[in-house]
């Protein structure tokens, strides 16, 4: 279990001071696949490097299984890192790279050999064990980097965008392989990515970061269906934003009134307002196209056919754009045409009230 609390990191001082992490508090459970997701420069790497010991946080605490590790040097921490650039030792073979951590722990030769063998099999690199690392492909280097970090059986494995350099197909393969490895080894994975799809498909929980802060932590479904902030809703998937009047909040249920005057139940957000003007988020696939006189009315602006589904772009009467995504049925004829007056409706509880 990794407990991070009130972690802040400021680089530099005076005028050039830059705070890359702001009061980060998060608990990562044993054997969890935990993902840090956020745009470039939001502090993902800085947080990861704080855990690894390459960044010295300005304030805050960091414990692994109750042990304070902030005072420890990187080589004394029970964590291993898969670097974004792999950082394989160019003067060593594949086997020597994988065995490096074990040798540095002064394990007996025979044990090193058998673990290296086991790791080579795990990442399917046995055939290339004696190659120099400059003589293997990018995907293979990636697997060696993974095996090297896994070999000492750390409590926690930190992975900094390990798949970003791979092409699409290999990336998909490695995603599955990573999940399998995490499952088989039972090691806690802290995984960094800025690819939302990768985060949604692989993670047990996701922390969405922006500007050095963690905005929301939750399972993939929760993050996707119930984003707490505009940034989160916008960063993950496509979303429609609609302004509304919040009438009352009772637990998870919020009563809202839309600009059309229609009232509906939405999902409340913790730490948000309890009345007044708010923004709600509705996913394009959660809304349906109906006849006028619905929750929101508007004019059909554009119809875009995508094969699996069709996107309807609607200019609402409140002068904003709303997109509805509808899954296509075989040989269904298009019943609407551009310029038609249409209605937008969605079920109670689908709309998510956002913080701020």
């Amino acid at each position: 279990m990794i407990e991070i609390s009130g972690l802040t990191k400021t680089f530099g001082s005076g005028d050039s001071a830059f705070t890359a992490l702001k009061d980060v508090t998060v608990t990562i459970e044993e054997n969890e696949f935990f993902t840090l997701l956020g745009p470039s420069g939001c502090g993902k790497t800085t947080l990861l490097r704080s855990i690894a010991g390459f960044v010295d946080p300005t304030t805050g605490s960091l414990t692994i299984n109750g042990d304070d590790i902030l005072s420890k040097a990187p080589f004394d921490r029970p964590v291993n890192t898969v670097f974004q650039s792999y950082a394989l030792f160019p003067h060593m073979t594949v086997s020597e790279n994988i065995g490096f951590g074990l040798e540095m722990q002064n394990r007996p030769k025979s044990e090193v050999q058998s673990i290296v063998q086991e790791m080579l099999e795990l990442v399917q690199m046995t055939a290339l064990a004696d190659r120099m690392t400059s003589q293997i492909s990018g995907g293979q280097q990636q697997r060696v980097a993974l095996a090297r970090a896994l070999a000492p059986k750390p409590k926690v494995l930190l992975l900094d965008e390990p798949l970003s350099a791979l092409d699409f197909k290999l990336r998909k393969e490695m995603q599955i392989e990573l999940k399998r490895l995490q499952h088989e080894t039972g090691i806690t994975f802290v995984f960094v990515t800025h690819d939302q799809e990768e985060a949604l498909t692989m993670s047990d929980r996701i922390a969405v970061m922006n500007g050095g802060r963690i905005l929301q932590i939750g399972g993939p479904r929760e993050i996707y269906d119930h984003p707490a902030e505009r940034f989160v809703a916008d960063f993950i998937g496509d979303t429609n934003f609609v302004s509304a009047d919040l009438q009352s909040v009772e637990g998870e249920a919020a009563e809202i009134v839309l600009p059309s005057g229609k009232a509906i139940q939405a999902r409340s957000v913790t730490g948000g307002a309890t009345s007044g003007k708010v923004t709600i988020a509705v996913r394009p696939e959660h809304a349906t196209l109906t006849a006028p006189g619905a929750l929101i009315d508007g004019t059909l602006q554009n119809i875009v056919y995508f094969g699996t589904d069709t996107h309807y772009h609607i200019e609402t009467d409140a002068n904003s754009t709303f997109v509805i995504r509808r899954q296509n049925q075989p040989d269904a004829a298009e019943s609407q045409k551009i310029g038609d007056k249409v209605g937008i409706s969605f079920n109670p509880g689908v709309a998510q009230v956002l913080r701020d």
Binding site: A52, F54, F75, L88, F89, P90, H91, F100, M104, P152
Partner: protein, 298 residues
Amino acid sequence: MSSETQSSRNRWLLLSPALAILTLAAAGPLLIVVVYSFLTPGDYGGVIWQFSTDAWFNVVAERDFFDETIGLSDAHLSIFWRSVRLSLLTTIVAFLVGFPTAYFIATRPENQRNIWMLLIMVPFWTNLLIRTFAVMEIIRNEGVINSVLVGVGLVDQPIQMLFTDFAVTLGMFYVYLPLMVLPIYASMERMDFSLVEAAFDLYATRWRVLRKVIFPIVKPGVVAGSILVFIPSLGAYVTPRVLGGGKNLMMGNLIELQFGQGRNWPLGAALSITLLAIVMVALIFYVRSAGTEETPHG
């Protein structure tokens, strides 16, 4: 096809300026030196065109003045030995100081590195004699160090540093240090420092990171730096002359002596070739032993 012979002819044509320079500047003079070493010395310098192997004989041996017995030339051999010994020592000290220096510079923020390199290089652009005399000023009996030591009362008598092997080594170390720092720094700057982090991450202590990761990766730079320091040290002339006084001769001085006061050009030529041979043997030996392990970056 004729295009192949054409292209190979073109290649020779393109190479010819380089070949011409090599022939004129390297092979030609070398050949002259070899030829001179097999001639007879003239009475007032120069050579007489008469074949003789006396010069080569005199490189390592001498005929006793009185009873004509043949023995090893102790004077020459001890000078050879001192040259090799002091050059090795200079190279080792230059490495011990140069490696941390290069590491220090390579780990500074990027915009500061050039300033540090400049500081290392400035002495190198200064005249060799001036630098050597500066060292002399520091270590002579009335120099900076001894004045302080005597002044403070740490010693009664000035410590004799000038005109010793120590002085020669110190001088050569000071003069050739940039030649060690530069190539090591170059390979260190190219090194990916995330490798160092990776090693730390994998439980390597600082010393082991240095030995297992940094050193093997910058080894080509260390090899180059050692060669660049060792070779000119072996042939050094000014430094041993100024700092070693008349006593602590090195090969460069011995050779100069034959062409000057000694008036024995053939012996000078033979000694020059001996120096060259020592360099070649040392180089082959060194590169062989350094190259046994796989070195990256070529």
